[in-house]
């Protein structure tokens, strides 16, 4: 009697367990399959990649209604990859396996895709979500979600560059070199990018009227701030003039404008308008920034005038 009772208890327990089927897990053969799929994609091993799909698999990228075939998906991937010098998913990826209410097995994936464009070496970062249904060891459906506009924008930038008149291309290239010359205090490089009597006005006041004076001014910043660095935040070019928002940073460890070093760091935001000649050489810079802000960051204070 006791035995029968115990047996009954076991059967009940076992059934209760059975009912609690595992519907969420982070490991298993289906997850390994999708991991393999991504590894194949990264290696460009398309034969192995394709074998992971069922022949009738449907692929939906950023849409629900019109699926593409695995071959079409592969062609799309190949076309995108042809534009890239490197691509892939990093290690920061999440996988889960779930069993839906209708008993289907889905692998959900979240990851960071990174690719570098061959044309301009620009790196694109895209968060990607994939939801993949696996049946009998093969992928039967794949839904992908990511913002394709990020890549589209980068590609239109490349197109715009290609269609740019030669002179604008030269100005743009010279601009990048100019920022480098500023950051590395390279007077010779600056000379190669400007006319001999290049002008610089700062907040409306003349600061330099030839290459030597301009180079001296750059040197003053680098003496005061040996780690002085210039970054172009945004750039706009029209009718031979460029309009730039820039950020300068540095640590005041040397004498600056006859003042002893303060040891303080600065971060200054400013705006410059550059004019170029028909060869793309810099003729004039009109620079605008808040001098008071720089001095405050260095610890200087403003003393109000004495009342009369």
């Amino acid at each position: 009697m006791k035995k029968i009772f115990l047996l009954g208890l076991f059967v009940t327990l076992f059934m209760a367990c059975e009912q609690k089927e595992v519907r969420y897990s982070t490991s298993g053969p289906e997850i390994e399959l999708v991991k393999g799929l991504l590894a194949d994609y990264e290696k460009g091993d398309w034969e192995s990649w394709k074998e992971k799909y069922a022949d009738t698999a449907k692929v939906y990228y950023n849409q629900w209604d019109d699926s593409i075939t695995v071959t079409q998906s592969m062609e799309g991937h190949k076309a995108n990859i042809a534009l890239l010098s490197s691509y892939g998913f990093g290690d920061n990826v999440t996988y889960e396996k779930i069993i839906s209410d209708n008993g289907n097995t889905w692998i959900n994936f979240w990851g960071k895709w990174e690719g570098t464009l061959k044309e301009n070496s620009k790196t694109i970062v895209l968060p990607v979500h994939l939801s993949v249904r696996v049946l009998d060891g093969k992928i039967v459906q794949e839904n992908g979600f990511w913002d394709n506009s990020i890549m589209q924008t980068a590609l239109s930038e490349i197109e715009a560059m290609k269609n740019m008149p030669e002179i604008e291309k030269t100005i743009m290239a010279n601009h990048n070199k100019m920022v480098e010359a500023w950051s590395s205090n390279d007077a010779e490089a600056f000379k190669a990018l400007s006319v001999a009597n290049v002008i610089r006005n700062s907040n409306g006041t003349s600061q330099a009227s030839n290459q030597i004076e301009y180079a001296d001014m750059m040197n003053q910043f680098h003496t005061g701030f040996p780690d002085f660095n210039v970054k172009m935040d945004s750039y706009f070019l029209k009718d031979g003039k460029s309009y730039i928002n820039w950020t300068c940073t540095g640590t005041n460890t040397g004498p600056f404008m006859d003042n002893p070093p303060t040891g303080k760091k600065i971060e200054i935001h400013g705006f410059s308008v550059w004019a170029f000649d028909s060869d793309g050489l810099a003729v004039q810079e009109d620079s605008f920034f808040d001098n008071m802000d720089m001095l405050s960051q260095l610890g200087y204070t403003l003393t109000p005038p004495k009342a009369n």
């Binding site: 208890l9 327990l13 629900w64 889960e96 959900n108 979240w110 895209l126 839904n143």
Partner: protein, 171 residues
Amino acid sequence: MKKILLICLATTFLISCKNAEPRYFSSSPEIDMAKAHIKAYNEGDWTTWMSHYADTAKLSHNTLDESSAAEVLEGLKGLLAAASSYGFTDKDIFYEMVIDDKAEKWVNFWGTWEGTIAANNQKLVIPVHLTVQYVDGKIVEEHAYYDLSEYMVVMQQIESEMAVEEEEMEN
């Protein structure tokens, strides 16, 4: 001896039962909250929409950078300003909740956003995926994935049409 063996067996069963604690849900209080959150978005009820987030919530829409709910709201309002109507449809909408290995509760949402751009009456259909972590009934983390390329193409078309019109008016 036999008894001990039986007790051991029973204990093993019980433990394995405990381990099989459900971790996948197609309904839960958090899923109901997510549904109410989507409803508030559809209705443009931004006060209710904001109330679903913890003050320190971190949101990442199509980026790895983190923003506050208020910052994302400004972005969404900017996108929606061009639309004469918008919302998530009842078609292709799916909610689930999982409890992950770190015992965190995540609601996953897949849906279809539909909107009409006011300037040219063009209809846009954009699939959206959200994965959202809830703690004590509030969203603490949200990641969103949706393709804005069609939206951008339409906005660029409108912009270039406007530029042509302006040029014609000037001439």
